[in-house]
Symmetry: C2
Subunit: 307 residues, 2 copies
Amino acid sequence: MSLIVVGSMAFDAIETPFGKINRIIGGSATYVAYVATNFVTPVQQVSIVGDDFPKEEMYALAARGVDLQGVEVVAGKKSFFWSGRYHLDMNTRDTLVTDLNVLADFNPVIPDAYQGTEFLMLGNLDPAVQLKVIEQLKTRPRLIVMDTMNFWMEIALPGLLKVLKKVDVLMVNDSEARQLSGQFSLVKAAKEIMSMGPQYLIIKKGEHGALLFHKDLVFFAPALPLEEVFDPTGAGDSFAGGFIGHIARTKDISFENMKTAIIVGSAMASFCVEKFGPEKLRNLTRSDIDDRIRQFVDLVNFDIKLV
Amino acid sequence: MSLIVVGSMAFDAIETPFGKINRIIGGSATYVAYVATNFVTPVQQVSIVGDDFPKEEMYALAARGVDLQGVEVVAGKKSFFWSGRYHLDMNTRDTLVTDLNVLADFNPVIPDAYQGTEFLMLGNLDPAVQLKVIEQLKTRPRLIVMDTMNFWMEIALPGLLKVLKKVDVLMVNDSEARQLSGQFSLVKAAKEIMSMGPQYLIIKKGEHGALLFHKDLVFFAPALPLEEVFDPTGAGDSFAGGFIGHIARTKDISFENMKTAIIVGSAMASFCVEKFGPEKLRNLTRSDIDDRIRQFVDLVNFDIKLV
C-alpha cells in the first residue's frame, strides 16, 4: 500500500554512437518499477500495453514485487513504440518514430486495492491522463511526484498547468524548465515554476547532475563521471524510480530526505546508462547499489574550515 | 615567500546580454592576485604591462599585498587588450579583438626575492613563457599549477606538452580536456592527460561545476546556481586564485585539501561573475567569503544511510 507508479510500458528502438538495438523493453513506468522495487514493494503499476508485450517481462516484474492489476492489456493492439538516435554528446537525441498505439486511448483505471496509497509517481504522459489518476484517488497521497516533457508544454499547456497545481514535486530537465518558465536562469525558472503549484522542483541536467529547489533552499547532486555512457534511454525514469523508491521506503518527505533521495536517484541513473535499455537494472544487488552510493559520497564529500 | 603568480595584466572590452563596457581592468594574473590575496600575502606577481596600465590599479594591488617587483612596465607601449562578446548562455563567447601589445615580447624575469617560493600559479600564457618561469626557479616549488587554453593546443602543442611534464596540477575546461586528450569521455580524457605529466587534473565546466582527478580518485564541486550571471570574464582565473590561495594558506597539498581548495575556488568564481570584470573582487570581506562557502556546503551536503 505504499507506491503507485503511472506511465508507459513500451518497446524502444535505440541508436547510439556505440550500437543499435531494434527492439528492447522500454517505457517510463517500466524503468521506474525496475528501480523502485529495489527499495519498496509492492510497486502498484498503472499502465497499458498491447498483447505484443512479452509475458516473460510481466512475470519478471511481478517477481520483483510489481503489482500489475492496474496494467491494462489490450488484445489485438500493439504496445507504445518509440525510436530514437543519440548524438555523440549523448545529451541530445532525435526522435525517429513515435507510434502511440495503445497509449492513444489510455484511460487509466485505479484498482480498488491501490486506494490509500501514500506515494504517487506520475511518469511522463499526457497531463489529462495524469489528472485522471489523481482524481480517482479517494485519499490524497502524502507526496505526488510528476514527470513531464517539452512535448506537453507545446501541445497541452493548459492541461499541464492544471495538473501542476495538484502535485508536490515536479521533475523536468533544464531546457524544459526554461521553456515552462520563460526564464533562462535556472534559479529564476525554479521560482517561477514553484509559483505554478509544486512546492519542490527537480531540474535534471543529465551528465551535469540535478538540482532540487524548495522555497529558498537549493541542493545539487552531481552525475557520476563515467568512462562510458552507453545508452541514456531511461536515465531520467531510473532517477525518478530511485527518488520515489527512497522516499517510499523511508516515508520521510522532508527536504533533507529528498536530498538523499536525489543521490539515490542519481546512483540508479548511473547504472541505467551502462547498458542498452533496462538491462543493467534487472540484476542489481543491494551491495551494487550501496557501492555506487558510496561513490557519490566520495565524489562530493569535503571538509572545510571557514577562512 | 609563499606564492608566485604568473600571467597577463590587461585591459578588456566586454559585451554580454546585460551590458557593455569598453575598457576595464583584466588579465589572468590580475584576477588571480585579487582573489589569492584574500588568503595569502604576499602574492609575488610576474607580468608585463604598458605604460597605459593605471598606476591606481598597481597601488590597489600593492595595498592588498601583491608584490609587483616581477611586473615589467614597458614605456611607450600598450598593455595587452582583449575584447569579447558572450552569447546568451554565457558559456560561449566570441573573441572580437586580441592585441598582444607588450605580451608579444614577454620574457619574464623572476626577481631574486621570489626564489624559494613554495607555490607557483602559471596563468594562461604561451607555454614557452610558462617554461621560462619554471626554469628560472632554483628550488622547485612544492606545487606548480598551470592553466592553459585551446589556442596553445592549436599553435604550440609541442611546447605545451613540454611544460605539462613539469607541472603538478593542470586546469582546463571540458572542451579543452577533450581537445588535448582526443577523448570525449571526461574520465578517459583525465587518464590520458594525467599520463602526460600532471598528477592532478582539474576540469572546469563553467556553470556545471568542476572535477578534480588524481589517479583513480575523483571529486566534483558544483557551481553555485545564481539568479544572474552578469559577466563570466575572469571566472576561471578567480577559481584558480581561490584554489592556489587556499593551498598556499594551508600549505597542504593533499588530495583531501585540494577538494576544499576547489570549493574555495568555486566560491570565488561565483563572486566574480556578479559584476563586470574584477569589480566584485575588490572589496570582499572575510565574512562575505565565509558566507559564500557556507552556501556551497549547504548546496552539496547530505546525510545518507546505505540501503
